[in-house]
């Protein structure tokens, strides 16, 4: 990279002025003439048969255009899942409901107020059935979430999940059992809950569908992370070629995985638009969002470590039951699998695991920021802390003793996957030096001597992201059922326009991450075109190259690389044109300051508008050169990327109330090369906030009948900036060779590293009382109960 590179520089986000002023266009800002509004009747029961639905009063209301039930839409088929294990979701409940809030009927009316009034006028006769919510009860199959169907979908164990991709690995179990039986080893176990969460994007989901009868085509605006997959789904369902469906994801106000799904409401709005010949809109209300979108996490499991008394871990076991909810949606059963990919963390340790996926009468779980990886990191890093305490060793020392060493990379882990690069001990040492670890421990011990409950929590983590290798398609990780077989390729178009400005069109899209700035930096660095002359377009399937979407911290590593390669090709062609115009050799052309010049002759220059004008007037080009100045690139990486890091927190617990105060929070992350440090820091900030949200505040709480007790933001507290400390961030840089940019991904790292950092700190604070574990969320009541329990 040249010394004038904008890569690695703090560049203010191009997109922010519009977003901050409220001038960005979200789905709800886009208005079509004649549009109708949809609303849904939702189940008040978690499990019930539907005996009858009386829509007569609703359909008779002024302004109501249609009421649809399962009979009207059954032919559309269930919503397909990428990993099609378990019961798929019908577009509207068909004969029975299986979770609270499941859509039973759809009203389409002149406006949303009328539609809601009509919803209130629809009478559904339910015959309630026993519901299953508790994961152990679900695994025991005593009550079935779907009548006559086992709750147990599958159990991930061994390497059977990656046929033909990994080598056959020996079963770690016998060696672990042998280690446990030895006299000189210690075995520690903890049963822990990684509770269900409600993703809660600031912009709820929103859909606007418009059938063009004259053209036989759909236009669909949706607040989605996957516009191309959605276009494929709509095309397949309505028997159209995919080029007859245009999906636009305009500004998206937070995704976090909840918009990484194809939802029945998207299909139903298209259906209704086609039936009624009018555009049909549905915007999710905050009230219905907890059950009309996916939820995340929801594991109960036991982590076990056997190791020597001097800190060498001889085996790690994870045995968990994972909550899938009522229906398999997009990834659903694959989320625990993503956790398995990083089950052994940063450690070279034998690992055995069983993750049992069970169905319950609750909304579907699917990807939520981190998606399996925060759960995996939580169990591992909590039990390592427990082990360190058991053998009386510093938790940082135990971690270092078991890390993969830099010279072992690429490292094939105990689950059979190969990690690209890592320098774990150096990263942890950098963190410990930054926080003055010894001084911090002294500060904690001095506070303890005064009777205060102060604790230090540490967690290391490794993430797998940047999906990824095309072979993942073999595992079902693609929307092939919807005629979208592309696995996790990235794509990008770089076009220099006749006036010398540059349009970049990408196959991924932001939901707040700052793609427009980051991608402009990549292209500007290559071509020397000023950032404000580069426009980055995204999210419109009519104009963008086929793209998989934004999820799994993949955009920069995969689609960013495609754009990098496309701009390199444009640069090569532009160099040839400039050389022709300047009567020089192409290899002597340098790009800077808005144009090209000849190396060593800075006065022999040609501007981008001059190069571009020539490109679009082929008679001025070298003989045989094709006109135009653009390139499309597709990038398929050979591996995922493996970011890592360590986080550390200092907390104080109020012994009288159980209130936890985070005094300090440090993060030392390593996501390879960094394009924009400010954007990377922002991603870490948000990720940590969501991890702390899980650690301290959030929980989707159901009663035994499957009623969601935490169904509003009054009962589901999410952290605000005022509830969080100022995070102190730093990073180490260990590039990957999986892509030429050397970048890994940072969207989820903060979430993966943080929850257990807080819990470890609180348990450390309570350790003098003999507390070994407190389940999340660490609300004051739970911490106080632990204190009270320990004090007897």
């Amino acid at each position: 990279m040249s010394t004038t590179s904008v890569l690695g520089g703090v560049v203010r986000r191009k997109e922010d002025p519009a977003l901050i002023r409220g001038e960005g266009l979200y789905v709800d800002d886009i208005k079509l003439p004649g549009e109708l509004a949809a609303a849904f009747v939702r189940s008040p029961f978690a499990h019930a048969r539907i005996s009858s639905i009386d829509v007569s009063a609703a359909i008779a209301m002024d302004g109501v255009h249609a009421v649809y039930t399962a009979d009207d839409v059954r032919h559309l088929g269930p919503v397909l899942a990428q990993v099609a294990v378990g019961t798929l979701r019908p577009p509207l409940a068909d004969g029975a409901v299986h979770h609270i809030g499941e859509a039973v009927a759809m009203v389409v009316a002149d406006d949303r107020y009328i539609a809601q009034d009509a919803v209130d006028a629809i009478f559904v006769d339910y015959d309630p059935l026993p519901a299953v919510v508790d994961l152990k009860a679900a695994a025991a199959d005593e009550i079935q979430a779907h009548e006559g169907v086992s709750n147990v979908l599958l159990a991930w164990s061994g390497q059977d999940w990656w046929p033909g991709v990994t080598d056959e690995l020996p079963d770690a179990k016998p060696a672990i059992e042998e280690a446990k039986a030895r006299d000189d080893t210690v075995t520690v176990s903890l049963e822990m809950v990684n509770q269900r969460l409600i993703p809660t994007a600031i912009e709820p989901r929103a859909v606007l569908a418009n059938w063009h009868a004259g053209y036989g085509s759909f236009e669909l605006w949706s607040s989605t992370q996957i516009p191309h997959a959605l276009a494929g789904a709509i095309a397949k369902i309505f028997g159209l070629p995919s080029n007859k469906v245009r999906v636009v994801a305009p500004e998206v106000g937070g995704g976090f995985g909840l918009k990484l799904n194809i939802y029945p409401d998207e299909i139903l709005c298209c259906f209704a638009s086609k039936e009624l010949g009018r555009p049909v809109r549905w915007t999710e209300t905050r009230r219905e969002a907890p059950a009309s979108s996916i939820q995340g996490r929801g594991w109960v499991g036991t982590a076990t470590i056997v190791g020597t008394r001097d800190g060498r871990i001889l085996g790690y076991e994870l045995d968990a039951i994972c909550d899938m909810g009522a229906y398999s949606q997009n990834f659903t059963v694959a989320i625990p699998l993503l956790g398995l990919f990083v089950a052994p963390g940063q450690y070279d340790i034998p690992t055995a695991y069983t993750l049992t996926c069970v169905v319950t009468n609750t909304p579907t779980t699917d990807a939520y920021r981190g998606a399996g990886r925060p759960e995996a990191a939580y169990y591992l890093e909590r039990i390592i802390d427990r082990y360190a305490r058991e053998i009386g060793m510093d938790p940082a020392e135990v971690r270092k003793k078991n890390f993969w060493q830099p010279d072992q990379f690429p490292a094939t882990t105990a689950v059979g996957l190969t990690m690209d690069s890592g320098n774990y001990a150096a990263n942890l040492d950098a963190l410990l030096e930054k926080v003055d670890y010894e001084g911090l421990k002294a500060r904690r011990d001095a506070a303890r001597a005064e009777g205060r409950l102060v604790g230090i929590g540490l967690s290391s983590y490794v993430e797998v992201c940047g999906f990824g290798p095309s072979a993942l398609a073999g595992l079902g990780f693609s929307w092939s059922e919807y005629g979208q077989p592309a696995a996790f390729n990235g794509s990008g178009v770089v076009r220099v326009n006749p006036d010398g400005s540059c349009t970049v069109i990408i196959g991924t899209g932001p939901s707040g991450q700052g793609h427009e700035t980051t991608w402009a930096q990549i292209v500007s660095d290559q071509l020397g075109i000023e950032l404000d002359q580069i426009e980055v377009l995204h999210g419109d399937t009519a104009e963008s190259p086929f793209g998989v979407g934004t999820f799994g911290s993949r955009s920069l590593a995969v689609d960013g690389t495609a754009t990098y390669e496309a701009s390199a090709r444009v640069k090569d062609k532009a160099a040839a044109i400039a050389a022709h115009l300047l009567e020089a050799a192409p290899e002597d052309i340098r790009f800077a300051d808005g144009g090209a010049h000849v190396a060593g002759s800075p006065d022999k220059t040609v501007s981008w508008p001059e190069i571009a004008t020539s490109a679009y007037q082929p008679h001025t080009l070298p003989d045989g050169m094709e006109g135009g100045l653009e390139s499309t690139a597709v990038f398929s990486p050979g591996n995922a990327t493996w970011p890592f890091g360590s986080h550390l927190a200092l907390v104080e617990v109020d012994p009288d109330t159980g209130n936890v105060e985070i005094l300090e929070y440090w993060a030392m992350d390593d996501c390879g090369n960094v394009v924009n440090p400010m954007i990377v820091d922002g991603q870490i900030h948000g990720g940590i906030a969501q991890g702390i949200g899980q650690a301290m505040f959030e929980a989707a709480i159901y009663d035994d009948d499957g009623n969601l007790l935490s169904s509003s933001l009054m009962d589901y507290p999410i952290p605000t900036a005022a509830d969080l400390p100022s995070f102190r961030l730093d990073r180490t840089t260990t590039p990957t060779d999986v892509n030429p940019l050397g970048v890994k991904g940072i969207g989820e790292a903060g979430t993966i590293g943080s929850a257990q950092t807080i819990v470890n700190a609180v348990v450390d604070a309570l350790a003098p009382l003999g507390v070994e574990h407190v389940d999340m969320p660490l609300r004051p009541r739970n911490v106080w109960q632990a204190i009270n329990g320990a004090r007897g």
Binding site: Q116, R287, M696, T720
Partner: protein, 284 residues
Amino acid sequence: MYPRKFDYTAPRTIADAVAALAGDEGAKVMAGGMSLLPLMKMRLLSPATIVDIGRIDGLDRIEDRGDHIAVGALVRHAETAASDLVQTHAPALARAASLTGDVQVRNKGTTCGSLAHADIAADQTAAVIALGATMVATGPGGTREIAAADFFVDTLTSALAPDEILTEVRIPKGGSGSAYDKLGRRGGRSDYAVAGAAAWVDKTNGSITAARVAVTGVGTKPMLVEAVGAALVGTDGSPEAIAAAAEHATEGVTLLEDLYGSEEYKAHLAKVYAARALTEALGG
């Protein structure tokens, strides 16, 4: 989040507002709307008419009336919190107002609106009880005064008749100090009160001559716990005396469990925050 159809009227005088309420059984008063509108959007409440008192002159003032201060029906939480008069004569109320809702709510919602709403986990309810405030209700027959301690009847239920408006709250001057503290649902003091307590004390010549403690968030309504004040009167207000008095903090309270606390925990917190509020009120 789409309310049922309703009528809307914005009278210019209190008399017109009262008339609008009296003539319509399904009418509800709206000041800032921060409690009413969410209930309507969730269709938990569907008034036939909203009587918006926001355009009535003279209700947006905090006044010094000699022996008391008066907070009008349109005074926003943020104004209550920032008021020199309130900070000087009723620090418990200023503090409670500063801990109500979030910035947007404090800039829009009103102190009297929150009191009339009578949420069991609100902050300023406990403060006005401990301060011995008088609530002034205006109805078709004129105004009547209701002691704050008698104002909160049950969950979301005040002593106001359907055709009455809480036009102001009067807080007597006097006493040596008052304070409010709470544990919030998001930990610290953030969000609705898991438990909170307000205290007012009068200390003369080293001895507590009068004391009132009210608790919120822990039971079916915010309420005065007379036993705490009674136990403190006559003592020197020492930490030991405070701790002993605070032990009475749940006497007469019907505890209510929620997602944030069991009855046992709420009872414990009532005592902790009674002691904290008393300590602060005594300048500790």
